[in-house]
Symmetry: C2
Subunit: 142 residues, 2 copies
Amino acid sequence: MDLDDPTGCVTFLVRHAWLSMRSALADALDEHGLSVQQYGVLVLVSKVPGRTVAEVGREVGTARQSANELISGMERAGLLERRPNPNDRRTQQVHLTPDGEQRLIDVGPAVRKVEEDLEASFSDADRAAARAWLHHMVENAG
Amino acid sequence: MDLDDPTGCVTFLVRHAWLSMRSALADALDEHGLSVQQYGVLVLVSKVPGRTVAEVGREVGTARQSANELISGMERAGLLERRPNPNDRRTQQVHLTPDGEQRLIDVGPAVRKVEEDLEASFSDADRAAARAWLHHMVENAG
DNA sequence: ATAGGATTGACAGGTTCCTGACAATCGAGG
DNA sequence: CCTCGATTGTCAGGAACCTGTCAATCCTAT
């Protein structure tokens, strides 16, 4: 990727960072047969099992319908399963299958290595500062 | 937008920041009838007139074909024009029309206000640090 | 209890973006 | 000169994502 950002617009710099990091992450993930979006859902459902489709969509930053299609695909791939929600007949609880859990464990080191390598030259303070800046953008925009 | 990022993965935090900032930018832009991608191309071509389609695609972080479609649409909208390149008969030089230049001038303040408001609570040093971090991600990934 | 509003998962249809090809053209090396 | 590899703009087809909509369900207030 080229992406030198001559626009002088921070928003596009953030976009370029996202594209580059996604590309690096994708390289590590598709050795394990996972897409970046699938990995995102896997991590999310792993941290908070029982999430509904709509919740997954919101927290992963995509439309409800896109989350639906994504989850359906992962269900077909045997990574996820939907269970009926006893407290709400509209929704379904999304859970990891044993295969999904195993896959998440398998890719963990590779993912962590990618991000660690990318940030290797930064101090803990710098990393925290960058996260704070990014988090602030998330909170105050949209 | 929700986007609280419980994944603990910086890459997704960057994605969330991009989505949020893009949404804020889009709100400001569509009052002037521009999309975020169109604005990006406008700024890029303004800074370096005569860019080819392929170059625009690379620098804006999209496929050659997507840049082609984007530029075609903006040409139809009277914002851009393609001129033959005397030194290379394969390529065409993309230039702003007077309308395109005017539109860019018109939206400038709104765009700058959005980004300034987002970063208002950060010092110059913090802003520079965030840009350095982002730039490093762009350089070392992809 | 029940009416009204909001939310859910899913379907249909459309937009955006991408990959894979193609001929035309350029540039370097015989 | 001429060939060969690389690059350009563009077309065709598909993948990913979104909006709009619907019935079903939940929640709140009267």
